[in-house]
């Protein structure tokens, strides 16, 4: 079966020795690879060949990882299904006929299919965790500032992080060990505060004895019944292993999706202004003036979801609307952050379904953008709060569709979520 996981299959060799020696690490196609085209899933960049490596790519190569190719994705990371790619949709190897999730759908799919040992994705509002959940694999969204974004083609800088995808928590943590840490080319990175020491991989010991798990009712109540059933079984499993659970409330998350989309679209409208068809990308030709040519290049090079987000972001930031949308969204973001920080003062981790629904059928969801945005309800609050989260396979619905469970930890609490997740996968 060709499930269309890769946009470009071209091997990039790594160092001979290192913690990833002998392993393959597929790379999402919005991460720059020197000499290997990097399309972002967009016709705009179909021919774009970066002159340099992203920091995470340098680190994977130095650690001995071999890169088998660049994975398919929603165009510029804008989607929840990998169906907005200019290179066609990716099928879900774990549930054929269904979407693999997005936007890092290709990365999760090649891992689920066994065509790569692990993969890198990027997570702006759930783009690592959603496909991990839909494909039955593990995905980690690190704390904002843990992993360098140098060489990541930006979508929404204040929200996004690069994260690992792998079959098990220990393998995902191994890849996180390789990519984490400060980089003077990304000034938002910083040294994590001294933790309990040891690598992230060592924290994958499955020991949840005494772990206090909070379950935010707002992130469970609205979920599909099939998802809730699998989630509840996983929670019982964790309790049997010595974890304690309690309900917590996060009233702010009711506004997280709208806050996320206002901020993400606003940042996207500014970031994607670089695609003018002059330095790279589709040329708009030389008829008319700069503005005419620029607008033609973007008409031709951008797909519909990208246009929709650039325009909505432009609208929300335009004169007269900034205070109504963007300023309120920043208030909501601060509220979400306070809510999570307060809850994580009381418990060690928060647990919820990663996605409130099982994977959609291919082609089912594209017609109604707003309904698709609402599917991100459980993942976007974590990006707004700058926190780390992991999605681990929790089981399958009666119909055989994968369901992911998300643990959220305090800032730089990666070891805690790795430990919790490793009890399940």
């Amino acid at each position: 079966m060709d499930y269309n996981g890769y946009v470009t299959e071209e091997t990039i060799e790594g160092a001979e020795e290192g913690p990833l020696a002998g392993r393959t690490v597929a790379v999402k196609d919005n991460l720059s690879t020197a000499g290997v085209r990097t399309t972002c899933g967009s016709a705009m960049l179909a021919e774009y060949v970066p002159p340099y490596d992203a920091t995470v790519v340098e680190r994977v190569k130095a650690a001995g990882g071999r890169i088998p190719g660049k994975t398919n994705m929603d165009e510029f990371g804008m989607g929840t299904t990998t169906e907005t790619s200019a290179f066609g949709p990716t099928d879900n190897p774990a549930a054929p006929g269904h979407v693999p999730g997005g936007s890092s759908g290709g990365s999760a799919a090649v891992v689920a299919a066994g065509d790569a040992d692990m993969a890198l994705g990027s997570d702006t509002g759930g783009s690592v965790r959603c496909p991990a959940a839909f494909c039955g694999v593990v995905g980690i969204k690190p704390t904002y500032g843990l992993v360098s974004r140098y060489g990541l083609v930006a979508y929404a800088n204040s929200l996004e992080q690069i994260g690992p995808i792998a079959p098990t928590v220990e393998e995902a943590a191994t890849l996180l060990d390789v990519i984490a840490g400060p980089d003077d080319r990304d000034a938002t990175t910083r040294e994590p505060p001294a933790g309990d020491g040891g690598s992230y991989a060592e924290a994958a010991d499955g020991d949840v004895e005494g772990l206090e798990i909070g379950v935010p009712t707002e992130l469970v109540d609205g979920a599909d019944e099939r998802v809730k059933a699998v989630f509840r079984d996983a929670i019982v499993d964790l309790e049997d292993r010595g974890a304690t659970t309690s309900e917590v409330s996060l009233p702010s998350v009711e506004h997280a999706v709208e806050a996320y989309y206002v901020i993400a679209m606003g940042e996207a409208s500014s970031n994607l202004a670089r695609f003018d068809g002059v330095r790279y990308g589709v040329s708009g030709g030389y008829e008319g003036d700069w503005n005419d040519a620029f607008a033609r290049a973007r008409e031709e090079g951008f797909g519909e979801e990208v246009k929709r987000r650039v325009l909505l972001g432009t609208y929300a930031l335009s004169a007269g609307y900034h205070d109504k949308y963007y300023a309120k969204a920043q208030d909501a973001r601060a509220w979400v952050k306070q809510d999570f920080d307060a809850a994580l003062d009381e418990v060690d981790v928060l647990a919820s379904p990663t996605m409130p629904v099982p994977p959609f059928e291919l082609g089912e969801s594209l017609e109604d953008p707003l309904q698709l945005y609402l599917a991100d309800a459980n993942t976007v609050p974590v990006n707004l709060a700058n926190l780390p989260a992991i999605s681990v396979p929790a089981g399958e619905t009666d119909g055989g569709l994968p369901v992911g469970l998300q643990f959220v930890g305090p800032a730089f609490g990666e070891r805690t979520i790795v430990r919790a997740g490793s009890a399940l996968a």
Binding site: S269, G281, F294, K307, Y315, A316, K324, D331, A334
Partner: protein, 92 residues
């Protein structure tokens, strides 16, 4: 949910600001979709004003020269170049 109605002229105006040409079919479709999405965004009105201290510190590095891209590398992806420069449309 309050109702925001977005006219096709508004979509055209925003597309002009964003420098994105649209087909008529896209304008019509976006007008309907934007009405729905913006109505949803308006629920942000219910969010209270929140005091927040951004935990931000400036990050500095020594101002030292380092290797950048060569001219050839920088121009490699340009659709058109002339005499070692990017070639673009006229500015006005």
């Amino acid at each position: 949910m309050s109702e925001t109605s977005v006219a096709p002229e508004t979509v055209r105006h925003v597309a002009d600001l964003a420098r994105v040409d649209l087909t008529e079919a896209e304008v019509e479709r976006f007008a309907d979709q934007f009405s729905e999405v913006l109505s949803y965004f308006e629920t942000l009105d219910e969010v209270p004003a929140v005091e927040s201290d951004a935990e931000l510190t400036n990050v500095m590095r020594p101002d030292e020269e380092r290797e950048g891209l060569t001219r050839e590398e920088a121009l490699r992806n340009a659709p058109e170049t002339e005499d070692g420069y990017f070639k673009g449309p006229r500015v006005s």
